[in-house]
Amino acid sequence: MALRPLALGLAACCTLNLAATRLAPAPKAAAAGVRLNADSAVEDAALLSLGMRRMAADLGLVRLLIYYGTPEEAGVVSEEPGSHPYLDPMHPELAWGGGHYPELASRAERVLDIDPSFTYVAIYAAGALAFNLNRPDQALDVLRYAAARNPGDVELAQYMAAVGFSRTGDKRRVLRLLEPMLSRPDCPTMIKNMVAYLYLSRGDRARAAALYREIAESSRDPGYRGIARMMLRRLEAPAASGR
């Protein structure tokens, strides 16, 4: 009968799986489980079921970038192709006219649920919330969310401190905390742009120009490349404009 080899084989599988479990216990699942964004739940669940957790997180990041890169109000003309219509690079800490992006924090947290090690999302979202949208409390929430899933991550702690000092207006301390991050391979261009602004605000045009040049030449973000080129033109113009 065909059932006998099948039964013996299944018994062998049981033994093998039991041995594998003893030798490599499965990682503990998060108590909160995985929460998915409503608009992408089916795709994310499908990718998770195919063992493509990182890809689901990557698509979550792409959706977050598209969300944040899409103007919330119509009729805005941008100065530079690819640049964000609300961003004043001279004052990125000011709240944008018309930009609120209420789902930014939750979207970042959903990506972290899928891939807790994807701290770039947290740093990007926190940077946008703290330095562009003027919502440092939400930025800290996102960073804490990431830190809870990556205990001992020094980088996250440093960003949390930077956001904390930005709340008090201590640009010098913010700069001191963010400068070491520039050399990290995963440093978001947004943070580099923020640091360039901080250099400018304390009159260090040379450093600001060097950072803008680096962004213009090597960043993969076309929006920030446009901003950097615009700022370089302003900095290199005979009379620099500014407020």
Partner: protein, 254 residues
């Protein structure tokens, strides 16, 4: 072993000269190109997206080719009766089965390696630097494909239906990636007697997460399962199902 190798080479020839293998590689190259476009949307994380998407797709295409081959290789020979001229020679049914599986494994390795070569070229052009974890992830994906192919061969012989074998294998592929979550559910489920069927299932389905290095890339090496465990689990598990398939084939009449 000699007959196994002769049959493997014949399967390899068929796959290389056949259209499916070529179409798989062409389609995969196209999709890798699309992944470049997707990567551009990810701005700073372009390389990561290209890396993840490429590896995932190589695995899926390898799986598609291997599953198609595994579910049809023996059933097709039975229907076309080409099996008659092999089994009426001094070739055991086990040699026939292992030979065909070895040919399938060789074809899957070649197609995945070709796609990986294109993928690496794209990654290097985008400024990525070699990391040996890529090789680990690719090897893990390949071994997952082999485990699944062995399952598919056995299920195809058991059910004598390509569709049934494909469906069950895909379900097991999915469950194999959900095994840690299943075990969590079993440990924290409402009533243990209600969890008994699930527990039994968890002992049988393949632990594909053990080999899912692609999704464990960011985890510290101490948190990943030991490499020796993963790379001995795969041949053992696949071997069990190939032995089941051999027993089923020995009982078949033509």
């Amino acid at each position: 072993m000699r007959n196994v190798w002769i049959l493997a080479r014949n399967s390899w020839q068929e796959n290389v000269r056949g259209k499916f293998f070529a179409l798989t590689v062409v389609f995969a190259v196209l999709v890798l190109y699309i992944s470049v476009l997707l990567g551009a949307l990810a701005a700073d994380q372009e390389v990561r997206v290209l890396y993840d998407f490429g590896l995932s797709f190589i695995e899926l295409m390898g799986l598609a080719g291997a599953l198609y081959g595994a579910t049809t290789v023996i059933l097709r020979e039975m229907e076309a009766k080409t099996i008659y001229l092999i089994l009426t020679r001094p070739v055991s049914r086990g040699e026939f089965l292992f030979g065909r599986f070895l040919g399938l494994a060789m074809s899957a390795a070649a197609s995945m390696a070709t796609m990986a070569a294109f993928h690496l070229l794209l990654l290097f052009l985008k400024g990525w630097r070699w990391d040996s974890l890529y090789a680990l992830a690719l090897l893990g994906a390949y071994l997952k494909v082999l485990i699944t192919a062995a399952l598919a061969v056995a299920l195809a012989l058991f059910s004598s239906s390509v569709l049934t074998a494909l469906s069950i294998t895909l379900i097991l592929w999915t469950l194999g990636h959900f095994l840690p979550e299943l075990r969590y559910m079993i440990a924290w489920g409402p009533a243990q007697w209600q969890m008994a069927p699930l527990r039994a299932l968890s002992f049988v389905i393949p632990d594909l997460q053990l080999l899912n290095y692609r999704d464990q890339l960011a985890a510290a090496s101490a948190q990943r399962p030991p490499t020796w465990l993963a790379f001995s689990y795969a041949p053992l598990y696949a071997g069990i199902w190939l032995l089941i398939a051999r027993s089923l084939l020995r009982k078949k009449e033509f």
